[in-house]
């Protein structure tokens, strides 16, 4: 299987490095150095990176490694950006024998980075998972992956198992095909009960997660970085990125770019430079959706100089999220795109919390009317948008509202046009992928 098959059908496979290794300041770290080819074999992986250091059962040595991860400043690459060392320490100090779970659910439809990483470098992710198990004292390790890459990961796990490579046995599970399935409590719920919906907090899953055990859930890209920090250390890790947000990150560049694919950047690279890496715009652009479907729209002129980092995107209300950069070409109505995504996000509600079930559906209805140039009530829409924040068990509704609010600001000129009953769109909406309805 090639990597083009393992994405959402938008971004192609792993992008080549821009020239020989090292030419882009030590990038790529996670992705392969050469374009094309199948998944790295265990032998190929070990030839590139060497063996993972063994931690063993000495708690002092574990603490030293966790401190090194802290010095590296690694944060979660699944969207929330939580410091990895703090999670490791919390789970290691938990009551009972911990469990570690690698999260390769990637329920975000436009995102392909976790699938591409697993398809090309499964052993780097598995190294990180095994290392996290050693750091926390876990004897059980699971990796939950998108169905598109399940076979590759199974094969990689079998290869390691035959070689007697790991101190813990790794189980591979297939992720549920839902937007919220990758939320940490939903992931635990999926593994344990087959229900991919969030559960209430507290208890935190780091205290009582899978089977009541302290549970570490880490995005697969985070685990791949962890596997490299284990080998090369904190100073090496910090030689890319910014002092406050060190390291590299994977970005899925899609929409109206010439070379839609997954790229690896130093955190803090300018959005315009990331676009250039993706071959530049394939058309005149109006706006960019940054972070994911719960990210923010930014006007394209304002976006290009923004650093792709929490510090760079925070002031405009965004974050790197799961590393999406989607380019909207002129001629496609941003309000129509937003209405499609809002309807999808409303439908992807787990159906548990009133504000998410009712408000998102109502808001999506208003946006449908707005996009279609039918009558809508702006005051009511804004009241509803104001009634959602932090009222769900998870942050799904908050993210939807954030994205919609940014659209109403960025597409203000279009909003005025739609209010007068016409739309400047000359091409149908459909830049952002919406999965076909799946049977639940």
């Amino acid at each position: 299987m090639n990597t083009a098959e393992c994405d959402a059908g938008q971004a192609a496979g792993a992008a080549p490095a821009a020239g020989a290794a090292g030419e882009r300041g030590g990038l790529p770290r996670l992705l392969p150095e050469r374009e094309g080819g199948g998944p790295a074999t265990l032998a190929g992986h070990l030839a590139r990176h060497g063996r993972l250091p063994r931690v063993g059962r000495d708690t002092g040595r574990r603490a030293e490694f966790i401190a090194e991860v802290g010095r590296a400043g690694l944060t979660g690459r699944g969207g929330a950006g939580f410091p990895t060392a703090r999670k490791l320490a919390a789970v290691a100090a938990g009551r009972g024998r911990p469990v570690v779970i690698g999260n390769g659910t990637e329920g975000e439809p436009p995102s392909a980075k976790d699938k591409v990483l697993l398809a090309r470098e499964p052993h780097l992710v598995l190294d990180g998972l095994v290392f996290a198990a050693e750091l926390t004292g876990a004897r059980r390790a699971l990796v939950v992956v998108h169905p598109a890459v399940r076979e590759i990961v199974h094969t990689a796990v079998a290869e390691r198992s035959r070689a007697g490579h790991d101190p813990v046995q790794v189980r591979v599970l297939t992720a549920a095909a839902r937007f919220v399935a990758g939320e940490a409590s939903a992931l635990v719920n999926w593994v344990e009960h087959g229900r991919p919906v969030p559960t209430r907090v507290p208890p935190r899953i780091s205290e009582r997660g899978l089977g009541g055990c302290p549970t570490l859930v880490q995005n697969v890209e985070t685990l791949a970085h962890l596997a490299l920090i284990a080998r090369y250390g904190a100073s090496w890790f910090r030689s890319l990125g910014t002092p406050a947000e060190p390291g590299s990150m994977l970005v899925t560049a899609m929409g109206a770019v010439r070379l839609p694919a997954v790229y690896e950047i130093g955190i803090g690279a300018a959005v315009g430079d990331v676009l250039a890496l993706a071959g530049g715009p394939a058309a005149e652009l109006t706006a960019l959706l940054i972070g994911g479907y719960s990210g923010i729209w930014v006007d394209q002129a304002a976006a290009t100089t923004l650093p792709f980092s929490a510090a760079g995107l925070g002031p405009v209300g965004g974050s790197p999220g799961a590393g999406l950069l989607a380019a909207l070409p002129a001629g496609v109505c941003g309000l129509a795109e937003t209405a499609r995504v809002a309807r999808y996000l409303a439908a992807e509600s787990a159906g548990q919390c009133g504000p998410c079930v009712f408000a998102l559906d109502s808001i999506a209805g208003e946006l449908d009317a707005l996009a279609a140039g039918r009558r809508f009530d702006p005051a009511r829409l804004h009241r509803w948008l104001g009634q959602v924040d932090r009222r769900g068990a998870c942050h799904h509704p908050d993210g939807a509202v954030r994205m919609i609010r940014s659209a109403l600001a960025v597409f203000a000129p279009e909003l005025a046009q739609h209010a007068r009953g016409w739309c400047g769109g000359t091409r149908p909406a459909g830049v952002l992928p919406i999965p076909a309805r799946t049977v639940r």
């Binding site: 009551r95 024998r97 209430r200 408000a359 109502s362 509803w384």
Partner: protein
């Protein structure tokens, strides 16, 4: 030390019966669909009794009154469940 308390709803358990907003309108309003919006503030002493009443009367036990203080909350220390004990 004054006891500070926050009213919190479990959004999964809540099904919007609305008793809390009737009993404690000072702290709870309802959104357009009848689900509670709880003021993001400590419950004043004068309302603590009503808040306790709202918690008791919630038909789906979705409402709770959490103490917030400088100290970390006293934790019960349940044993880890079978399957993740220290030696399993």
């Amino acid at each position: 030390m004054t006891v500070r308390a926050r009213l919190r709803a479990d959004p999964i358990a809540c099904d919007g019966r609305g008793f809390c907003a009737e009993i404690l309108p000072e702290m709870v309003t309802l959104d357009d669909w009848g689900f509670p919006i709880i003021r993001d503030a400590d419950v004043p002493d004068a309302l603590l009794a009503d808040a306790g009443e709202a918690v008791r009367l919630c038909p789906v036990l979705a409402l709770r009154l959490d103490q917030v203080s400088g100290r970390s909350p006293a934790r019960g220390a349940p044993s880890p469940p079978a399957g993740c004990g220290p030696d399993t």
